[in-house]
C-alpha cells in the first residue's frame, strides 16, 4: 500500500497510483445496474428517480435491466405478497454475483401498513439478504438516491482478500437462497432461518 501523503504528492506531479482493490471497487460501485421490476407504488418513485429531475444516472445506475442475468442490484420496490415472493426470490437467484438488494419502503422492510394482512410478507429480509433498507411510504426519490450512495459506500470498503471479503469472493458462501413453497396456510418455510433472526428483546415488566 502506498502512503496516502505520497499518493497525493505524486498526483500533483501528474502520477496517478491506485490499488487493484480500489480500482475494482470503483468500477463496481460506479455501474450498479438495477433490475427493472416494481411491485407497488414505491416503483413509481423508483421511476421518478430514474427521470431527469432526480437522474439516477449521475450514480451510474440508470441502466435498468429487463433480465436478471444482467443486473447487479434488486430494488424491492413495494409490497411483497406471499404469492409473489417465490418469483422475487427466483429472480434474485438468477442474478449473477456480486448482487445487492435494496428494500425500498415500509412494505418491503416490514410489511408496512399491510403487516397484519393474511397475504403480505412481513419484510423481504425474511428470505433475501438486504443490504440497504429505505424507510418511507413511499420514500422520496432522494431517499432512493441516498440508499444507492450508501450501497456505493459499502461496495467501496469491500476487501478483496481476508475474512471480511464479500460473499461473491467466498467460494463456499451461498449465492442462491431457497425458494419457499406454497403451503396450506402459509409459505413453507415461513422464513429463512439462516438469514433472518428477529431482534433479541430484553423486557422488564
Amino acid at each position: 500500500m502506498i502512503d496516502e501523503g505520497l499518493q497525493n504528492e505524486m498526483k500533483k506531479q501528474g502520477v496517478f497510483t491506485t490499488s487493484l482493490q480500489d480500482l475494482y471497487n470503483w468500477g463496481r460501485k460506479s455501474s450498479v445496474w438495477p433490475l427493472q421490476f416494481g411491485l407497488a407504488c414505491c416503483a413509481i418513485e423508483m421511476i421518478a428517480a430514474s427521470m431527469a429531475r432526480f437522474d439516477i444516472s449521475r450514480f451510474g445506475a440508470e441502466v435498468f435491466r429487463p433480465s436478471p442475468r444482467q443486473a447487479d442490484l434488486m430494488i424491492v420496490a413495494g409490497t411483497v405478497t406471499k404469492k409473489m415472493l417465490p418469483q422475487v426470490v427466483r429472480l434474485y437467484n438468477q442474478m449473477p454475483e456480486p448482487k445487492y438488494v435494496i428494500a425500498m419502503g415500509a412494505c418491503a422492510i416490514s410489511g408496512g401498513p399491510f403487516k397484519e394482512g393474511y397475504n403480505v410478507l412481513k419484510g423481504v429480509d425474511r428470505y433475501l439478504p438486504v443490504d440497504v433498507h429505505i424507510p418511507g411510504c413511499p420514500p422520496r426519490p432522494e431517499a432512493l438516491l441516498h440508499a444507492l450512495m450508501t450501497l456505493q459506500k459499502k461496495i467501496e470498503t469491500d476487501a478483496l482478500t481476508g475474512e471480511k471479503r464479500p460473499r461473491h469472493l467466498q467460494a463456499d458462501a451461498p449465492s442462491e437462497f431457497p425458494i419457499p413453497e406454497f403451503g396450506e396456510h402459509d409459505l413453507v418455510p415461513s422464513k429463512n432461518e439462516q438469514l433472518w433472526k428477529p431482534a433479541p428483546v430484553v423486557r422488564n415488566e
Partner: protein
Amino acid sequence: MIPTLEQIKARIEQSVPGARLEIIPNGSPANQPSLLVSNEHAVDVAKFLRDDSELRLDYASNATGIDWLEKVVKEKVKVKRMVEGVEKELEETVEKKTPAYLEAVYHLYSMSLKHGPIVLRLRTENRTDKTHLPSLTPIWRSCEFQEREIFDLYGIIFDGHPDLRRILMWDAFKDFPMRRDYVAPDDYEYEPTPHDAVLEKAKCHFPIVETPEVKP
C-alpha cells in the same frame, strides 16, 4: 323512475312463481333496503331483473361476501300477563339466536335506463358444510372474478360458475381469510410498544428476561 323495492318484489312474485323473497331493511342513514332471494329461484329472479323492460338491470357493479356468525340478539317484547288478577301489559326481554350463514351481496344497476342500485342478497344454509349458492355469472358476466374472490376469501361455492378457482391466494391455500374465525399464521416479530392482544403474543414469543437492576 325505478319502482320501489316493494313493487319489484310483487312483480317478481308474479312472474317467477314460487320465488321466496324478503325485503331486508337497512337501519343505517343510507336506508337502502335489499332483497333476499331464495337460492333455488335466484337465477330466474336475476334473469327477470335483467330482461324486464321496466328494470333492465343489465350491470352488476359489485358482488361481495359477508360472514355472519351465530349471535344472541336481545329483543324487547310486550307480553300480556295476569298480575294479581289484573291483566297488565309488561315488557320482557327475549333472547333470540340468529343462525350463522354466509351471504353474497350483488349491487345491480341499469346502464340503459340509468337507475340503480338494487341490492340482492343470497344466503347459504350454514357456514360450515352447506356453503353452496347459485352463480349469477351466467346472467351478469361481470360477476365472474368477483364470485371467484368471494369463493377465495369466504369459501362460498358458486354452482354454475364457469371457472371457480382461487383468484388472490394460491391454489394450495386451504383457509378462507375473510371469515371472522380465520386465524392468521403466527409469524410474530418484535413490536416496540405492545399492548392488549399484542402484549399477550409478545409475552409468549419473547419470555420476560430479568435484567439485574443497575444501581446509580
